[in-house]
Every structure is written in C-alpha cells, then in structure tokens.
C-alpha cells in the first residue's frame, strides 16, 4: 500500500494513511464545499486496501467538527472499512477520539459505531 497524505486546511482535515505504522488518521475539521472531490482519494485508497491483504490496520479519528455533507462521506468510509474487515483479509479497528466536552461528537461517534460491524472504541479526551 502507498501512503496517503493530505495536509490540513481551514475547512478540510489532515489525512495521514501510513502503510508502515498501519494507521489511517483523520484529524481536524471537515466542511469543504465539495466533499466528493475531497474524499475521493480516501475512497480510492480504501478500494486499494480491500484488494491488498494487510494484516491489521487502525483507523484513528480525531475530528473536531464535520458538516452534514462530510457526515455522509464519513459513513461511506466506515462502511468500506466494514467491508474490508468482514472480508477477513485485513483486520480493522476504529478508534474515535473526541473532546470530552463535546457531547454532540460523542453522540455522532456512538451512532456510527451502531452502524458498522467493526471493533469501535470511543475515547473522550
């Protein structure tokens, strides 16, 4: 797997998918005008991962905020991770970190965890 790195901006998160550490990290805020274009490389990378048995991968979410359009794409990402995990070739673990004061983000993480059959840890920091 190649690495995928997209630097953070005011309205898009940092994407740091590293094939040495086997961590997929998304950090920051997501409110781009065009979510489809922004997240396409992420979805493409996940398609590649699905075709490449890779042992174990951790997905670490450190999202401070995301708009409703992003929430749809994040669901798409998590569903792809579920497919990968259930295929049995790469074990996925999702760790969702959130600011412990942000009960809205805690609720959003809980709702996502109910939707996908992947080991899912929700951590208030």
């Amino acid at each position: 797997m190649e690495n995928l790195f997209i630097a953070k901006t005011d309205d898009t998160p940092e994407i740091d998918f590293n094939s040495e550490t086997k961590e997929m990290k998304m950090t920051g805020r997501s409110l781009p005008e065009d979510v489809t274009t922004f997240y396409q490389p992420v979805l493409d990378w996940l398609d590649e991962l699905e075709a490449t048995p890779s042992g174990e991968y951790k997905c670490i979410m450190n999202l401070e905020y995301f708009n409703t359009a992003s929430s749809k794409l994040i669901l798409d990402i998590l569903m792809r991770l579920e497919d990968i995990h259930l295929d049995g070739n790469t074990a996925i673990e999702i760790i969702w970190n959130y600011d412990e004061r942000d009960t809205d983000m805690e609720e959003a993480a809980e709702e996502y965890s109910e939707l996908v059959e992947v080991p899912f840890k929700i951590v208030g920091i």
Partner: protein
Amino acid sequence: METALKEIHSIMNDEHAVLVYSGEFNQDIVKSMLSYTEGKLDSSGIDNLVKKKIFNVMVEQLQNITKHQYVDGEDSTIQPCFVLIEEDTYYNIVTGNPIKIDTIDMVSERIDKVNSLDAPGLKALYKEARLNSRISDVGGAGLGFIDVARKTENKLDYSFYDINSDNYKYFTLKTQVNKIIE
C-alpha cells in the same frame, strides 16, 4: 446615507448583533464569518459546547445559502443575508436568501416534518436520510435542517416574503441556540 448609517448602528446595538452581513456568499466569505464569530465567542467566555453548536448551525445555514443563492436575471439584486444576535438566554441565527417559488413547497414540507419530530424521531430520520442520500450537484446531502434541529433542540422558524418577483420569494430561517444546555 448618514440617516441610514445611524439607523443600522442603532438597530445593531439595540439588538446586540454579533455579526450582520448582506451580500454574496461563497466558501471564503463563509470561512471568514466563521473565523470572526469563533474569535468573538471565544473572548465572550461562553460555554464550549454552546460555541460548538453555534458554529455547527452557522456552517449548515451559511453553506445552504452558498449552494442555493443563485438568481437569474433582473431578480439578482436581492441579496442573501446573515445575522447573529445575542439575546439573554440564547443566540438567534438568522439567514435570508431568494428562493425559487417552485421549491417553496418542498422546503416547507421538509422543515415542517423536522419540526414535528422529537429527539428520537429526528435521530431516526437523520439515520435514514443519510443512508439513502446522495451528494447533490451543488454538493449538499439534504441533511442540514435535520441536523440543525437535533443540535439546537429547538424548532426552526421560517417565512417566505414577497419581493416583487414572478419567480422568487425571500426565504428567512431563524434558529436558536440556547446558552444553557440541559
């Protein structure tokens, strides 16, 4: 000009306006408004979660305008607007934009539906809508009203005003973020 300025200033003062804007909306302008508001709210010492909710509602309402503001022909003099006002126990977030008359029914239905639901109902509606939605041509997911209703736990207040146009009315949306969250 001077009278108008005095009136505007007086209204803004009396109403405790945090931010008032009228004009074109695009992603850069939206980002500036968000950045300005965050700064202002940071120094006002309000609760972190309240600040987050205001930010959230602003993003959804402002991006809605950015996506749906375009008006053809001679009606394009009517500008969208945004107002953030601080009241005693809540913040009022108000947006206005021209809207095509033939979309009014759809918008009203959506908001009325959202207003008719309680928290569990909104959660279920959001889940279903998100699963079944696709990103539209203008980049929206059709989830904004539901999300704002969930985050604010208040009803959405809306109106359509006549603006002397055959094809457009002016849509205003007012939402409230409480200063105290239970």
